[in-house]
Point group: C2
Chain length 152, copies 2
Amino acid sequence: MAEIPERLVTKPSFLITQLAVHARRIVSDGFAEAGARGYHYRILAALDEFGPASQIDLGRRGGVDRSDVVAAVNELTAQGYVERTPDPDDRRRNVVSLTKAGARQLRRMDQVLDAVQDNLLAPLDSDERATLTALLTRLLAHSRDLPDGPQQ
Amino acid sequence: MAEIPERLVTKPSFLITQLAVHARRIVSDGFAEAGARGYHYRILAALDEFGPASQIDLGRRGGVDRSDVVAAVNELTAQGYVERTPDPDDRRRNVVSLTKAGARQLRRMDQVLDAVQDNLLAPLDSDERATLTALLTRLLAHSRDLPDGPQQ
DNA sequence: CTCTTTTCATTGGTCGCACCAACGTTGGCT
DNA sequence: AGCCAACGTTGGTGCGACCAATGAAAAGAG
């Protein structure tokens, strides 16, 4: 029982959004144990890979709206994972930088995510995983160079 | 510019959730023009394929929480797309059934979704689309028989 | 045939993500 | 000097996905 209508199950858009629900659930369960959420990871990752940045750049790199960056940076600051200082060269900006504790938190979150990938992709062998990743990457790239939506 | 951190772009969980954002956006843009949203489609689809049902069954089939079914059926009733009548055989239940206008609305929404699939999958040829669908279907099935989450 | 447990609809919340508009300050451009 | 664009911030919105609690009704246990 609980049969899912054909109409839904045959639509890639449905498969993707439903699988995303599952992915989001296990990711945020893991993150919650570390006292974090998705936006935090995106910001920490951007800081780690590109160095200190303004909030607007952090938002662009992680696909986070600038108003949401404000809230996330507030939270990360309160937890001691990032520091926010005024930019002396441009007083409209803040410079956000990663602390040592922030780098450790990022490593913790990376471990959570590694476990999540294994859980999520369990039924696939490594060739299939590569195929899936390649297909998704192409689709995501395509979606990004459409002016079809805000994409923030 | 706006380079995305490696950490994100290599994680299938990120690819899936981000692609889902895009899918959701174009779907709900299309549905909005028809005065509808995602839950409405799931309920109309379940009614069309399995016939009149109680609200709890509608929720199970479409993966919608029963409290959300209440709201969606309220809206669909107000629009004249479904009818809600008490079940004479079990007075705890309502029987929800599709009206003719509801069937027409479902057809409209199907057209929206067909266009969405083409948009979403534009970069893939038909073999690749089939491969993707098969992989996603397997992953979704796997996620469903885990007691790892509420799954509704 | 009671008593208890389960089921269903409904109400009224919560949370995360993805947005949007508006405002004040600051920088750049001319 | 004047104007426009950029940045941070506040304060919203909508959707999807949940959760807890309540009252009514059915089902099961004894």
